[in-house]
Each structure stands twice: as C-alpha cells, then as structure tokens.
C-alpha cells in the first residue's frame, strides 16, 4: 500500500500528527521524568544533580512507605472481592433468570459517574450512616476509611468486570457442557473442569484491570477521605498516587525531586506486579 517514493509524504499525513502529540503528551514527559528523578529542584530551571539521593530519601520517607502498605492492602482486598462478586453475579445472570438485562444495566451504571462525584456521594452516605449511629465521621478513623474505600471501589468496579465475565460465559461453547454431561460430570465438576478453565482469559483481563485500577486509584481517594485522619504526622488513608501528588504540590515544597523519584518507583511497582499477574494467570489459560 505504501510504496517507496511517496512513503514519507504519507507518513507525514497519517502518523506524524498523532506521533507529535504522543511525544508531547507521553514520551518526552516520561523520559524527562526519569531524568529529573536524579535532581533536586523546586522549579525546573534550577536543578541540582543528587544521584540516587531522591530514591534513598523516598525509602526513608515514612508517609511514602505508609502509603505503599495501605495501597497494597487495599489492592489485595479489592481485587479479590471485586472479581469474586463480579464472577458469581455474571454466572447467575447467564442462568437466564427473569430481569437479567435490568440487573446488568443497574450494576454497570456507577462506572459512568466520575471518581470525584462518586467519592463525594459515598462520603455523604457514610457520614450520614455514622451520624445516625452516633459515631464520628469517616475521616476520623483509619479503619473506616479503608473499608469505605473498599466498598466504594467494589460498588463501582464490580459492574464493569461483570460485563466482561458475562461475555466470557457466553463464549464458552455449549457442546463442551454437553460432552461433559454425557461423561457424567456433576454441577461442581462442570464448574471446576469446564467453566473455570474456559473462563481463564476473562479472569486474566479482569484481574489485570482491577489490579491496575486499584493501584492507580486517585480521584476516589481524594474525594472520599483525602488521606485523613492525620496520625503522628502521617496521613493514614493516603494511597500512593495521592501521596506522590501531595509530595509534589502539597506540603514540603523543596521535595519535587523526591516526588519524581517516588513516581518512578510507583511506575516500576505497577509494571512489575501487573507483569507477574499476567504471567501467573496466562499460564492457566487453555485452548478449547
């Protein structure tokens, strides 16, 4: 299609606009981000090379470590909960029960509402509930904040994953079930030996999406608790994304280099964990 003499001209028309924007919007900021993580600065015109100091400082920063463990706990709990709930709801909805389409519509709805507004809505709901129980607000208790975030995330994401699982269930060929039934498999065996292996591609996708979404969570965290409460100088419900944001733009003005180093560490963690997850679940996928 693209022959030699005019190839460059067509590249200019077809690819260059997108590529230029991609360089401005991603490649250049990404490379510069890595570069700047070795410098200390407040404004980019005055940088001082400090080697790996920013990385060392990041690992000594208590709020950064705290946010890492908080995020990790949140990710483990929410990935498991969301996938288990979505899987079984999708299974039930493909049983041809009455009203399936309405339920599917309702469960997916929260995904269309933005994280900031979702966070606000749930903040009001939780505080209203706690007030009726004569308990203090969500932002005064770390444990409540954690579970509030988990509930919000399940409420939002379960419907999205359910849609993907439903498509997965519908793509399992019916003759596989027939064959297994003729061989005398009971319902439990059908689930573990036919459905589960055939569903592995969907499980791979959904666990990947929930894993990365939960790790990168920012809007909901900001609007629901904003990191509160502050205990012994550390914001206890801040996740990594919010913590890095605050290192850049909030308190501690001289710490932009450290913030950038934390950004690089955050990026590496997300990439490594999602690659490990993809490797582990892909290994279990089978061909029909």
């Amino acid at each position: 299609m693209f022959k030699k003499p005019k190839r460059k001209l067509y590249a200019l028309i077809f690819v260059v606009p997108t590529f230029a924007a991609f360089v401005i919007g991603f490649i250049y900021p990404f490379i510069r981000g890595i570069y700047l993580s070795f410098f200390q600065f407040q404004i980019v015109s005055k940088t001082k090379f400090v080697g790996f100091d920013n990385y060392i400082r990041a690992f000594q920063d208590e709020s950064f470590l705290r946010s890492f463990w908080f995020t990790l706990g949140f990710v483990v709990v929410s990935v498991i909960l969301i996938n288990v709930i979505a899987f079984f709801v999708a299974y039930a909805l493909t049983l041809k029960i009455r009203g399936s389409n309405i339920f599917r519509t309702v469960f997916f709805m929260p995904n269309l509402i933005g994280g900031i507004i979702l966070g606000y809505i749930w903040h009001q709901i939780f505080d209203g509930l706690l007030r009726n129980l004569d308990m203090p607000s969500l932002v005064t208790n770390e444990t409540l904040g954690f579970w509030g975030l988990v509930i919000l995330m399940c409420w939002q994401q379960a419907g999205y994953m359910m849609i993907i699982y439903i498509a997965g269930f519908q793509s399992v060929p019916a003759d596989l079930y027939e064959a297994a039934k003729i061989d005398g498999a009971n319902k439990g065996q059908l689930l573990t030996n036919v459905t589960l292996p055939m569903m592995m591609p969907s499980i791979t996708i959904c666990s990947f999406l929930t894993l990365t979404n939960s790790f990168k969570l920012f809007d909901q965290n900001l609007a629901l608790t904003g990191g509160a409460p502050l205990v012994d100088g550390v914001w206890t419900t801040r996740m990594m994304a919010l913590n890095i944001y605050k290192t850049f733009y909030g308190e501690g003005k001289a710490a932009k280099g450290t913030g950038q180093a934390e950004g690089v560490i955050f990026f590496l963690i997300v990439v490594v964990i999602s690659l490990v997850q993809l490797y582990l679940t892909r290994r279990k996928e089978v061909q029909a």
Binding site: R32, I116, I117, D219
Partner: protein, 291 residues
C-alpha cells in the same frame, strides 16, 4: 469484535424456584445499588441544615426546599456551573473527535507499513497504558505550560497524546483482521492511500470507532487530575474540577447546593447511558478483549 448478546433468551425458559429466588435477590440488591444516587437526588430538594440532621429522611412538607438548591448551585463557589459544564462538553467532544480522527489514520499506517519505527511506536503505545499518571504528572504539566497548552483548546493536544495508546492499540487490533486484498483492490483501481482510507477502510472500522469513542468519552468526561493540573483554574474549570473545589472548601460547604449540582452532572450521563447502552457495553467488552 465480540458481539454482546442480550442475556435474556428470546423464548421464555421455565423459571425454577431457584431462579425465582435469584430474581428476587437481585431485585433487592439492585434497589440497594441505586440507593446512594437516589438519596442524593432527594436530598437535593432539602435545605443544607435538614440534610445534616438526617440524610436518609425523605423531604416532607417542612423540609421541602423547592429548587432553591439548584438556583444557588448555579453560581456557587464563585464560578458559574453552566460554564464548567460547557468546558467539560467541549473538551470531551473535541478530544474524542481528534483522537478518533488522528489515531485511526495512524493505526492503519502503522499496521500496514510495518517498518521497525512503526513497531517501536506501537510498543510505546501499549507501554503508555500501564504507566501511572503520577509518573509523568509533573513533567507533563510543565511541558504543557511551556508550550502554552493551558487552554481548553491546547489540552485537546495533550488528550490526543495521552489517549493515543489505547486508541491505536484498539484500531490496530481491528486493522489486523481486515483482509488486505480489499485495500489492494482499491489500489489497483487507482485510489491512493488517502482515498483508500476514507472510502474503504474507514467504513469497515465503524464498530471499533464506536468502541473507542465510548471508552475515551468515559475517560475524558470524568477526568480530574489532568485538566486540573494543566488548565488555568481561575478561567477554566471542568465539572470534576468544579465539584472537587466545592467539596474541598471546608467550613463553608453547602451540601444542598453541591447535591443539586451532583444531580445535574449525573443526569446527562444517565440519559446518554440509557440511549447508547448497547454500544457502551459492547465498547467495554471489546476494549477489554483486546487488552
């Protein structure tokens, strides 16, 4: 592209007792599921003080506040709400149109010419989908600042760059499945690459266009941090930026007014959802299956 069938069968299958129980159970869960939104809707008709007393009480003759919250909400926070809504609309529509137009062309060229450079670009596109925004947050807003992209028009270019990854990935996946013979036939008939793209390839790509449009719309409309960091906040606010500003100004928060605005922000999305539900769900599935 994966087609999503309706869950319910055409014929009425006999409902067993277990299935009837599941229907009842899910009906109850569905009501609980929409409750948070419903509570906000009816509280938007109560005065701020009554919301604070009991969030869950329905408005009655004493607490009914009419549309005063809506009137107050329009100018609450020293920024007109309709202006934020217009900027949101403009950025979302503009961003999605530019992404669709530019990336579909780029994806086709990348897939068909298949040079080393194109493969590298494609790899970077996939890579960009995994990178968390916080990694490039500071350098991106600094770059946008020095290139004077801090207006709602400039930000479209940033969205094209940042949204290109997913779009190119999805378009490329689809182009791979188009038989190249169709394009070669157009070429033999004397249509150049531009003509071939716009009159042959583009119509075939329509389903992917819809999927990409849905996913990018959901992202840009709800995006908070990117426009917050890039746009000049005194002049331009999108709905999420405005809502977080109102929510964050502790001390003088008026929940009545905010809830009225929440209702106004959700309403267009709900209408959009019910109008294009089929496409939205197909878009989500095909976006995920390609991933």
């Amino acid at each position: 592209m994966a087609m999503v069938k309706a869950v319910e069968p055409k014929y009425k299958k006999k409902q067993t007792a277990g299935m009837k129980f599941l229907t009842c159970l899910f009906a109850v869960v569905s009501v609980i599921y929409v409750m948070p939104v419903l509570i906000v809707v009816y509280n938007s008709f109560k005065a701020n003080s009554d919301i604070a007393t009991n969030l869950f009480a329905l408005p009655n003759a004493d607490t009914f506040y009419g549309i005063q919250n809506y009137i107050k909400g329009m100018t609450f926070g020293n920024y007109p709400f309709w202006e934020a809504a217009l900027w949101s609309l403009m950025i979302t529509v503009g961003g999605v149109v530019i992404i669709l137009f530019c990336t579909s062309m780029a994806a086709w060229y990348i897939q068909r010419s298949n040079t080393i450079i194109c493969k590298i670009i494609y790899f970077f596109c996939i890579f960009s989908m995994v990178v968390p925004f916080q990694m490039v947050m500071f350098t991106l807003s600094d770059t946008a600042n020095s290139l004077k992209l801090v207006t709602p028009w400039g930000i479209l270019l940033v969205y094209l760059g940042f949204g290109a990854g997913l779009a190119i990935f999805m378009f490329s996946g689809f182009v791979k499945s188009i038989p190249i013979e169709i394009e070669e036939a157009a070429d033999v008939d004397g249509a150049g690459p531009l003509r071939t793209f716009f009159s042959v390839v583009l119509p075939i790509m329509k389903p992917t266009f819809i999927s990409v449009a849905i996913l990018e719309t959901m992202w840009i409309w709800n995006d908070y941090l990117l426009p917050y960091l890039i746009l000049d906040g005194k002049l331009y606010r999108t709905i999420p930026i405005h809502m977080q500003f109102l929510n964050g100004s502790y001390g003088q928060t008026d929940n009545g007014a905010i809830m009225a605005l929440v209702v106004l922000s959700i309403l267009p999305i709900v209408i959009f959802y019910f109008a294009c539900q089929k496409y939205i769900i197909e878009g989500v599935v095909s976006g995920a299956v390609k991933g």
